[in-house]
Structures are given as structure tokens and as C-alpha cells.
């Protein structure tokens, strides 16, 4: 496997130009700049008003190991601190340019200037030297979306087996989300590396339960019930299977980068009073948070059948339901539904996912990459920093 070495020691498995808009008003211009340039990926924050979480997320994403250069597209009057973002990116040695639409002369001239810069950077990145990478260089996230009654018995436990193999190989693996682990707190804290971490895990799930109780409903969509799931606890236990059997090394929040290999739980539910609405409004919000914590690849287990991918980092889609796989095989990288028909064991599917992670890290395109999926969403949130007991010593 080969990748690209960054100044912070992390290694990328892709080498893309991030085109980052800083307010929705600059989104169209950013999209037009990236159009037609395969290695230009659009990310951004739509809000006009300042939010430390969004600032941190954009800084982390613009310095993600898969990003080789950054074009920042600002309207000019939004509150996002473009000066700080530019400084952060420049400090990592990456080429960075800021275009302010109000100063560039509007839509057309900004698009022209942006395209010229992106094209030149993409050419330079294509010729950049590579270095060897190993499984221990990887951060792998996992999410599930469009869950049904098969997710927790095929795709999620198979992803858990792949996670065990990755952790054994020295990778950092991240599972989430605490709102979908309600009911699992007892069994989860028993796996914590230290008693203090167990307390943090229990508190994070209690926070999620409180947060969702205030909102009036849990992280549970109508399609979950159609697929045979009845309660959030049941969905949670199925989602929990993605974590595998390894001890839990740490508890991180979005944008915290795992300091070493091991299994990490990501607490995605905001701290403090309930503000800004639903924690993660759709699956891509979770994938974005995985990437902000450095995920090179995200495993996405789906029962009902999601088709999304992501900007910046590949998504491996694992079909849990064999009937859905038959309909959506063009979107799925792995058919874990074979476990139900007896055509494969969980161990075999887990090994297949592990092997595929390494292939994708070495450049193999996932289905969603081939299909051009570049979804991205970032919304307002608010977090306190993690406590000292959350990270491994």
C-alpha cells in the first residue's frame, strides 16, 4: 500500500484538492469551480453565524490526510474565520488559497480564478511522491444507516469482525453514535480500558438519552420500523455489533484524532442545553464527523439500502439485507446478507471487509466513488472538550 505523507506524520490514501465554501452563499461558486475536475472535492459550512464546532470541523477536514491542497471560497461578509482557517492549513505546508467573491468581482471571475488554481494544484498532486503505508497508519470509521432487522445480525457483526482484525493490526477504529447506543451502556462500559473511561461512557449515553428525550423522539426513522425494528434499544444493540469485541480504548468527540491504534467510541451528542436541533440530521453528518477525526475510510452498513458516498474519504457500503442487495447491488461493495442464506459465515464476510479496507487504502475505488457520490453536510453543534479519562495513556 502506498499513500501520501503529511507534515503531521499522518498519511493520506487519496490526494485531493478540497474546495471549501464558508457560507451557503458561496456554495454555487465552489461547486462550479470543482465541476469537471475529478480530484476537486467540495466541502463547506452553510451557516452565516459563528460556531466553534464548525470552525474546528472545517480546520480538521481541510487538514485531513487525504487532502493535499485547499481552495477556500468565501462570500466575504460571513462570520466564519477564514483568516484562521487559512493560517491553520498553511501551517501544515499544504498549498492554500482564499478567494473572496465580493473582492474577486463576483461569480464569473471567482470561478475562473478558482478553476485555474485547482487545475494547477491537481496536476501537482498527481505528480507528488508516495510513501509506503500500513494498516497501522489507518483510521477507520463505521456508521450504519437505513437500518433494518438484518443490520444487527449480518452487516454490523461482520463490520465488528473487520474492526477486530484492524485493531489487531494496529489501526484506530471509531464507532458511534451514542444516540444509537442507548440501552447498551451497561455492556459497553464493561469493555472500557479503565474504570474512569467506563464512567465517561455511561455519562455520554445518559447525555444522549436526555438529549433525545428533550427532542421528543430518538434516532429512529420510520423505515427502521418497516424493517422490523421496534425500539431504540433494539436498533442500538444492532448498531453496537459494529464495535466488535476489542476493549474500548477511548472516548472521543468529533474532530478529536485518536492518539494511537485501538477502538474508540465517538460521542456525537452536543454538550449543554439542547440547541441547534437534531444532533446528526442524516448519515453524511456522521461520516463528516468520522473524517474530522481522521477517518481514511468509513464502513457504512445498511439494511434498507443507502446509496451515499462522501467527499474526501471513501465509503465502503455493506449490504446487510440480501433482498436489498439484489435490488441495489450496483451501489453495494459487500453483500453481508449472504450470512442469512448460509452462503457465507460472519467470519468470512468480516475478512472480506478487512481485505477490502486495505485494497481501498491502496487506491481501489469503492462503488460510491465510481458513481461520483460526494455528499457532505455540516451543521451547527456545540461541544465541551473531552475529559482526561477519555484517552489512552
Amino acid at each position: 500500500m502506498r499513500g501520501w505523507l503529511r507534515s503531521d506524520g499522518r498519511k493520506g490514501i487519496r490526494n485531493v484538492v478540497a474546495v471549501a465554501y464558508l457560507v451557503e452563499c458561496a456554495h454555487h461558486v465552489a461547486r462550479q469551480i470543482a465541476a469537471g475536475e475529478d480530484e476537486a472535492h467540495v466541502i463547506g459550512f452553510p451557516g452565516c453565524f459563528p460556531n466553534p464546532y464548525a470552525q474546528k470541523m472545517m480546520e480538521r477536514l481541510c487538514t485531513h490526510p487525504n487532502v493535499g491542497a485547499v481552495l477556500v471560497v468565501s462570500l466575504g461578509c460571513e462570520s466564519f474565520n477564514r483568516f484562521q482557517l487559512e493560517k491553520m492549513v498553511a501551517a501544515t505546508g499544504r498549498p492554500v488559497k482564499v478567494l473572496v467573491i465580493q473582492n474577486e468581482g463576483g461569480t464569473k471571475s471567482t470561478i475562473t480564478a478558482g478553476r485555474d488554481w485547482v487545475r494547477a494544484q491537481a496536476a501537482a498532486l498527481a505528480a507528488a511522491p508516495t510513501v509506503p503505508i500500513a494498516a497501522s497508519d489507518l483510521v477507520v470509521g463505521t456508521v450504519c444507516g437505513g437500518s433494518d432487522g438484518t443490520s444487527g445480525i449480518t452487516g454490523n457483526p461482520a463490520a465488528g469482525i473487520a474492526f477486530d482484525k484492524l485493531v489487531a493490526a494496529g489501526a484506530a477504529c471509531i464507532f458511534e453514535e451514542t444516540g444509537e447506543l442507548i440501552g447498551c451502556e451497561g455492556i459497553m462500559e464493561a469493555r472500557a480500558a479503565t474504570p474512569a473511561l467506563a464512567g465517561e461512557i455511561r455519562a455520554s449515553v445518559a447525555k444522549a438519552a436526555r438529549y433525545y428525550a428533550t427532542l421528543g423522539y430518538g434516532s429512529f426513522a420510520s423505515g427502521n420500523a418497516d424493517g422490523g425494528l421496534t425500539t431504540i434499544e433494539e436498533k442500538s444493540l444492532g448498531a453496537y455489533m459494529k464495535s466488535g469485541q476489542s476493549p474500548i480504548s477511548g472516548l472521543i468527540k468529533p474532530g478529536d484524532i485518536p492518539p494511537k491504534g485501538g477502538l474508540y467510541l465517538m460521542d456525537v451528542v452536543p454538550d449543554g442545553e439542547v440547541r441547534f436541533g437534531f444532533p446528526n440530521i442524516s448519515d453524511n453528518a456522521e461520516i463528516v464527523e468520522m473524517m474530522a477525526s481522521g477517518a481514511h475510510v468509513t464502513l457504512f452498513v445498511t439494511g434498507r439500502g443507502s446509496v451515499v458516498g462522501s467527499a474526501l474519504a471513501p465509503v465502503i457500503k455493506i449490504a446487510a439485507n440480501p433482498h436489498m442487495y439484489a435490488r441495489l447491488s450496483g451501489d453495494m461493495d459487500v453483500n453481508a446478507g449472504r450470512v442469512l442464506s448460509g452462503e457465507a459465515t460472519l467470519e468470512e464476510v468480516g475478512q472480506e471487509i478487512f481485505d477490502l479496507v486495505l485494497d481501498v487504502a491502496d487506491g481501489r475505488q469503492t462503488k460510491s466513488e465510481e458513481l461520483g457520490h460526494r455528499e457532505f453536510i455540516l451543521t451547527y453543534k456545540s461541544f465541551d472538550p473531552i475529559g482526561p479519562a477519555c484517552l489512552p495513556v
Binding site: D148, I153, G218, S222, G228, T230, T231, E233, L237, L340
Partner: protein
């Protein structure tokens, strides 16, 4: 006790089976030695009671509670929104669907 091979037991302590394949309307299925007739079709991933669960008692899947019975559940019953509720947050299901 003999049980239809389409019913999957995830954990020895579970009070429900999980369907590993569909059941057609009008089918009779062997559940823990008893023939149970299903008037409605049931999809992959749905749950069927393995044992009786009294109203207010926890329903167990994966060896862990997934909520409480809101009415008495008999072996062979479809276990879903009509007889099981969360101990945490209520479940939202789309209304008006056929």
C-alpha cells in the same frame, strides 16, 4: 422444540426469534413446537415471540432488554410496535401508509 428454520435465535436467553426470510400471508409456521398461522405477511428481520411475555415485562433480544411488552405476548405472536415499547424514547412510525 422444533422450530421453522427461517426463525433465527440470536441468543439463548432471547424471548424472540428473528425472521431470516419472509413469511407469506396464510402460512403456518412451526414456533417452538407449535403450529402458528400467520394472516399477514412478515418481512425479513421482523420478530416472532419464542416464549410468553407478560404485559410490563422486558422483551429480550441479543440477550439484552429491547423494551417492555405493552400487552401480553403469546409464543408465535409478531412482536412489534403494537405490543412492545421502548424504556427510553417513543418510536415514531410514518402514519397513513397502506
Amino acid at each position: 422444540m422444533p422450530t421453522d428454520p427461517r426463525l433465527l435465535l440470536l441468543h439463548p436467553g432471547d424471548s424472540v426469534y428473528v425472521l431470516r426470510d419472509q413469511i407469506a400471508a396464510g402460512e403456518t409456521v412451526l414456533v417452538s413446537g407449535t403450529a402458528v398461522a400467520f394472516a399477514q405477511p412478515l418481512g425479513l428481520g421482523h420478530k416472532i415471540a419464542r416464549v410468553a411475555v407478560a404485559a410490563g415485562e422486558p422483551v429480550i433480544k441479543y440477550g439484552a432488554p429491547i423494551g417492555r411488552a405493552t400487552r401480553a405476548i403469546a409464543p408465535g405472536d409478531h412482536v412489534h410496535l403494537h405490543n412492545l415499547a421502548s424504556d427510553y424514547t417513543p418510536t415514531y412510525a410514518l402514519e397513513g401508509k397502506a
